[in-house]
């Protein structure tokens, strides 16, 4: 399986380690009023789709960047990869 690294091109999936659903980027505010419920959701309640899934991969034996990889869980086809940093910044409206 090859992962199209946005900076380095096609790289062997063996160089990467897998973390999980890309929604893990969006960590809730631990100081908020409803932190207990939102953290319960964040930690335990995860969709497990058969089909297209966005997930976090770490390029451990590489440039050590985190990627958001879009993968079809039924065929293992890799549909795209972006730097997780770019995804997180875009979610925050591009603010550094």
């Amino acid at each position: 399986m090859l992962i199209p690294h946005p900076l380095l091109g096609l790289r062997d999936a063996q160089e990467f380690t897998y973390l999980g659903d890309a929604s893990l980027i969006h960590r809730p505010d631990g100081m908020a009023e409803n932190a207990a419920e939102t953290f319960f959701d964040y930690v335990y309640l995860r969709d497990n789709p058969a089909g297209v899934h966005r997930e976090l991969w770490f390029h451990e034996q590489g440039d050590r960047s985190w990627l958001v990889v879009t993968r079809d869980t039924t065929t293992h086809e890799i549909l795209g990869a972006e730097l997780a940093r770019d995804v997180a910044l875009a979610a925050k409206g591009g603010a550094q």
């Binding site: 900076l7 380095l8 790289r11 160089e15 034996q61 440039d63 960047s65 550094q96």
Partner: protein
């Protein structure tokens, strides 16, 4: 007083070197290394006049070289300066960056071919899962070699460097030696 003697990463008093047909592998004990990381929002530095390369690349100049290790991060190499405070010199040249001494964390092996690019390409294909044909002179990347993390640098058509964890020096030498010896037999 205890009589202390310096030794190389492989434990010898002299750097190890061995030839396998057209390929010669040598431990490079004199290579100084320092990592350089750019702070967020800062401009890309030009330490000691050395232009820092982009992703997947290696660039030499001014008696030094640099290769890209991650977004905003580079490793700076200086041949023959392992006994100096090279990281200190880099920090002086790029005071706005984070610089860390790496010389004693890594071991470098230089591989030279006396028969052009072909033996280097065959060795690359045996060692690492990167596209050897697309890994031309000036390329550098970090990848896995027998479950160890190594930097591979194509210094020239007929020159390759493998830089890995110093504590794994013996295992990296074993991997290189085995691959080169098998190529010699083919």
């Amino acid at each position: 007083m205890t009589d202390l003697a310096p030794m190389t990463a492989l434990g010898g008093s002299l750097a190890r070197a061995q030839s396998f047909g057209a390929l010669a592998i040598a431990e490079n004990a004199d290579l100084a290394l320092a990592s350089l990381a750019q702070r967020r929002g800062a401009a890309q530095p030009v330490p000691m006049g050395l232009a820092l390369p982009g992703p997947g690349l290696w660039h030499a100049g001014n008696g030094m070289a640099a290769f890209w290790t991650g977004p905003g991060q580079w490793m700076i190499e200086a041949p023959g300066r392992a006994a100096e405070d090279f990281a200190g010199a880099v920090k002086q040249a790029a005071p706005e960056c984070s610089v860390t001494e790496q010389t004693d964390a890594f071991v470098a092996f230089e591989i030279a071919s006396s028969a052009g690019a072909a033996p280097i390409l065959s060795l690359l294909a045996k060692l690492v899962n990167i596209d050897a044909a697309g890994f031309g002179p000036g390329s550098a990347t970090r990848t896995g070699l027998e479950h160890m993390s190594v930097f591979v640098i194509r210094r020239a058509e007929d020159r390759l460097a493998v830089i890995g964890m110093r504590s794994a020096a013996g295992s990296i030498w074993h991997a290189l030696e085995s691959a080169a010896a098998r190529l010699q037999g083919e």
